[in-house]
Symmetry: C2
Amino acid sequence: MAKPDTEAKPDPGTGAKTPRERYRAQVREEIKDRAWEQIATAGASALSLNAIAKQMGMSGPALYRYFAGRDELITELVRDAYRSLADALRAAAADGADLARLAHALRDWALADPHRYFLVYGTPVPGYHAPADTTAIADEIVALLLDACTALLPAGATTPLGAHLQEHRTWAEGHPAPPAALQLAMNLWTRLHGALSLELAGHFTGMGFDPARYFAAELDGLPASGR
Amino acid sequence: MAKPDTEAKPDPGTGAKTPRERYRAQVREEIKDRAWEQIATAGASALSLNAIAKQMGMSGPALYRYFAGRDELITELVRDAYRSLADALRAAAADGADLARLAHALRDWALADPHRYFLVYGTPVPGYHAPADTTAIADEIVALLLDACTALLPAGATTPLGAHLQEHRTWAEGHPAPPAALQLAMNLWTRLHGALSLELAGHFTGMGFDPARYFAAELDGLPASGR
DNA sequence: GAGCTTCCGTGATACCCTCTAACTAATTCT
DNA sequence: AGAATTAGTTAGAGGGTATCACGGAAGCTC
């Protein structure tokens, strides 16, 4: 108790941690992996700490050494999902800010694991509230879209809705996007989400048409690339 | 609910339903009412047969006399939700087929009980598969949209995407909508759903702008009313 | 109205889940 | 080596779904 920490917490950057911390991080990672498996097959609502523990050969309550509870695990997964999406979009935007590239990166990411998409953009979980740091990542995602939209439009471009968005804007503040770019980014987001989420939820099954084609058409019809 | 289902279980000979059947229907109705209360406050995933039973003053397993299980209750609620939406839209379409009226009826219906909207158009429940008769109501809803869209467009109107939709169409077959109307209906559906579901899920909170205005703008921007 | 039948509601039970608490055993620190 | 920390265990409270056998009330028939 009386000791100052002479204890080694020395190299926060390199990952040279104590064995305990290494082990701990490793187990946490395995837990999350199993959790993703469960989510991928049965959705987030079916996630069971107990089942994960058994799968890992240990018994129930042991997991509470690693996560305070189911909610914290889910929070962590949401965080990872956001980060993963941000990474995917950033990678797509790396070689040229192109709406189409961005859009298809989004669709590919969603199709790769639909339940992961729903974890982020789906029906909100009753008690759950996203912590500040995940909304920060969400902001980054929006900023990526804004970048691409801004690049497509003349500097002062504006629209009626764009003006409204500009006037009451408390998001991505500091980003020099013209009003029309705000609208374009919003349209990109909500329209692609509309098409994608209905497709993933299975509402298109049995209708006969090709969801990819519909998605592409929605992309083409965006107010900036079309006209 | 207000409607005493008139001849749902016709009893030839006596004409009136037996007291048993009346009672049974009444209890089923009360169970569903309580279920809707729970859903409205905590979402479908928090629905508990046990809690409903206790709330009604009877003990757990009694409910299994009325519903085979949680899934059947939810199925019934989904069915009712679909029917309720179809009614709302039909009422809106009754006095003039107008996309705006339809759209705002949809939004009002969704805002009245967001969890009900998500029950129908949200993240799919893991094990749950919609029975044929709910998809029939879903078809009716689509048909309502199609009617309104058809009324707005010239008889043979077509678009590239519309042609594709027409060519691989296994929905609302028999409806004499021109290809362009198919596309318009799809756009109406997916775009409004995109804006609405993100709003209801809380993804717009903290962004500052007015969701109603955004929704209205999306409606205005539809490929038929705009140009 | 007596008797038969049908159906409602109950308690007991099995099996899931989350999560807490007390205890043991291993690991690490001094 | 001894002390402190921490991982993992079992036990158990509390809640959920769902099945079962039973008692009793309601309806139906004569």
